[in-house]
Homo-oligomer: 328 residues x 4
């Protein structure tokens, strides 16, 4: 028995013991990629809880950056960046339920796969931006084209980084709003949490019938904060298994892996994202693991880990974690 | 000649010298009020630049709070608050243009008019909220029912406040997103700027064909910051004249009145809202009033005024102002 | 009878009805100006409550910038900026008391008086700074030398601004800390509130025996936010009357003028400064003006005014105001 | 050869190859503990670069909390918390140099050692505070008395945590200011970075002759963020070796351990602390490891790790890390 058998998804998912049907969401089937996540777009796939979906994602630049001489400011046209696959309808998903997304595998697509990392004017953690509105000149535009394979990211002559893929943007639809794919929030969105890779399960609350799952923005690797604004962005073949947990009520995304549970908050300023993540984790420990509230709060003060996800998007993302061994 | 004849709207609006047609957007015509501002809803009215529209707005609670014994947490159902009239299509409005909205008059609707002010759990400037996520107990729910007329707001036995109405939420549609009516941003939205009352002209950049004007959230009076979370919310009859200024490019809402120009930014943290407002004002002075950039920046350091709009919504709103007399 | 007779200072000050002794704190008497505000420096003057002090302040650059060709980065040496007069010991001032500072008059010093406004690298509201640490190139250094008199600030050929002087930095000593004169906090400090000019009374809580009053940083005029980082900085002759109010307990500076009471908060992010200002104002209304807490909070939501003081220093400053007519 | 031989301290410290003299800073020798860190206090010890000091620290509550029935609000008296040992003068330390502090060992002091963790009113990450000033009722006061030994922290019947000690507050003196021991800043201070334990070297820039080293605030363990406001606070015997690196110029604390280099920023909002940490790390990689600036920035976007130190003090602390293997 692996940790997965003992996961919340496998313990509580209505499709946990179904034989999964496998779907393949190809570019052809997807046809129109989405730049806004909401209830107004046409579903591309209908699946049952427990099904497996192989998703062919485009990179966050929509494949428009191919060479190091390309200028992001010329090639990219806001708000048409970070294209998303979906919406995928999960049978039976209703407000008050939760969709579980287990990422099983992420591979680069195509022959001779490359990722791209860019410095985009007025975007990133160490520059004035559209929101942190300054009068300084923007930083230069820089494009890096990086060879990748399933073992490594060949960053530079000097540095080879390990291939540690994850999904940057994972969402269900809000109830009424339609939110651009650059922004993370309660619905998930562009969280850029490095833990959201193969071996992780993300739990997203359902707010619209069928849940309407969107997925995209694969990263071959990413540091905490994604500080220059982009990771090693690549076109992936990502395999997920989705399931449905009925009547599980919470507000913000959650993540589980072999060792830990994580609550994820997205907000500005960064302290609000962190507060959300911790409050949700306290409430989770109280509601489901038998902790008294102040005991949970004080123990996290000694034992929590924090992950900075994105530190560059319209809202910043923080994960607060507790080791599963403390929840037994 | 009044200041209005000399306003940007009257100088540059394509309908400035048309004989206005007057429209009345009644509750019956509106039928379905909107809780999200975007390109996906059905227009309720088509007007020409220069037309006048009398809009019957509902209060921000949708009329659901009637007595001081009503409990906001029971009566209100998120996200169905702050109902908006519209969308109103302005003939000829295209991306790259600007819609001008001159508020001419705001009156309370109905016999024996009242406004309502509430403390809503986890909402307001001096309480933990959904974003500033804390473990403290929420503040109590309180409802105030306040008699109003066109002269006064009868706040309490002790204090009568002057009737100083304004529109809290004024928007054009984003290009792709649909944004809940509680949030201000580049499209306008729930700015809660007290200057946005009769005698003001608001300029909003067009991002969707026809502009798609939404309006609502009338306040009989409001302090800077709207700190308890709500103003004196009332159902209004609001008269606006709309016009269209072709090819005027800027990102954030602007406002003009007899004495001053204002740029309006909405963001968190509050410093980012303030930075946006000031940067936009500097750029405006440079682009249209012949100021050298550093001269504009340094002069604002001596002569600007700042208005805090909302300090309670998902994004905070700040206006930066310069007196028109310094622009001559 | 003027409003002053009815002010808190005149109603409660222990020296209100003493015949004031007048002191003159000349540069010679001051000798060593201070760059840090604390309990470790030698007093330059001992006064009694009710006394009047004429203070000869230096400009915030210590007089080191004299021409538009001077480079702030070469001429100024951190942390030796914003020189302060003081400490002035107020007889009888003890922890738990409050010192009142009524600014009576501010005049430019010297023949042919000028003020100076600078853009200093990595300082100001619309640039990366030491704290908002970015990789952008700094803005250019610019120095403006501005003729001033007691009526006008001759800003540019185009714009003459009214002379509206105020004191930028006004402090009592903290109990243990010694805080650089650039930073505002509970002790007062570099608040840069334009209302703190002639006709205002500032109330500062005593934390160290004798209070230890520091004063400096005169501005011939200043906009809300002081956004380029500096006002029209000048050497002033400032006349204040000081008094002592026994056993008045509060944490943050307060201000009174003819029309309004103001609470002043200094913090980052800007929302915390604003929260402090408003919470203190609510508590003041409850403690001394007979308001029920939620009534005060909700009424401020309709009637408060906000002043942005500095928006450039290590902590930002915000004043929250309520009109005195609502307190009767 | 261990990593230590290859550390910056051992490579560049002027005392690296001296035979260390060992000093013992007992409570008796310390006599007066300090609550403010600055240039105005009397040295307790003079050491040479390369010397070893055994420091007997008090817990952050000054030993005033002994039982779970003690009330922090009654027993603690602000600002007299977080007592510091020191100042220790390092021979030859001058402005422009850096003091290295290698923590070699941390043990609990006394028989039957315990640590204490408290929830203090209006202090902590998930409550309104003096700065995030709200009107909510404070959280309850809670005190936990926790048995500790050199292997474990016996948190509760349910959870035993590993003993992972670190020093919460480590400082040199500012040039002019004297800063309370609760606040972290450029001088070090109350950073609460869990990595600052045995096996780490902290580098602090000298701003005052002799450096004036202060140390205190030992934690038997602490989670990222120290969210309830306190860690497992205990009286320690901490052994450090100090050294001096001449003419090494940087602004913010740095840390080295076997695997990584870290830059440490302290500010509010939390994004500014994070920006500082990352900018300093970029500048470090450029200045000393041969990276081109944009290459460093973009590689950190793929490979950096972030540590949240304190998320509760007057300034928040963030460490940005890069693995040493990428610097070769």
């Amino acid at each position: 028995m692996t940790w997965l058998d003992d996961s919340i998804m496998m313990q509580r998912g209505v499709g946990a013991h179904r034989e999964p049907v496998q779907h393949h969401l190809t570019e052809e089937l997807q046809k129109t990629f989405h730049y806004t996540i909401g209830p107004y777009s046409q579903p591309v796939l209908h699946v049952k809880p427990g099904d497996r979906i192989v998703v062919d994602t485009r990179d966050a630049f929509g494949g428009k950056i191919r060479e190091e001489t390309d200028k992001p400011s010329q090639v990219l046209q806001m708000p048409f960046v970070n294209p998303q696959n979906g919406p995928i309808m999960i049978e039976g998903a209703e407000k008050g339920d939760v969709v579980a997304v287990h990422i099983e595998k992420m591979s680069p697509r195509g022959a001779d796969p490359h990722g791209y990392c860019c410095m985009i004017p007025n975007f990133g953690a160490l520059t004035g931006t559209d929101f942190t509105a300054l009068l300084n000149e923007p930083l230069p535009e820089v494009v890096r084209k990086i060879k990748i394979d399933e073992e490594n990211v060949y960053w530079s002559r000097r540095n080879t980084l390990p291939y540690r893929p994850h999904i940057g943007t994972l969402s269900l639809s809000p109830e009424l709003d339609s939110i651009n794919s650059l922004t993370p929030d309660q619905h998930g969105g562009n969280m850029d949490v490095p833990d959201m890779g193969p071996g992780s399960i993300t739990y997203l609350p359902v707010r619209s019938p069928g849940g309407r799952l969107f997925i995209g923005d694969a990263h071959a690797c990413q540091g905490d904060g994604e500080v220059c604004g982009t990771a090693v962005e690549y076109a992936s073949r990502t395999t997920v298994r989705v399931d449905l947990i009925k009547q599980w009520n919470f507000a913000w995304p959650r993540l589980e892996n072999e060792d830990a549970l994580m609550s994820i908050g997205s907000a500005r300023p960064l302290e609000d994202a962190t507060r959300i993540a911790f409050r949700e984790l306290v409430l989770w420990m109280v509601a489901e693991y038998g902790f008294e509230k102040w005991d949970a709060y004080m123990m996290l003060s000694q034992a929590a880990k924090v992950r900075l996800g994105n530190f560059v998007d319209p809202k910043y993302t923080v994960g607060a974690m507790v080791a599963k061994r403390y929840l037994k």
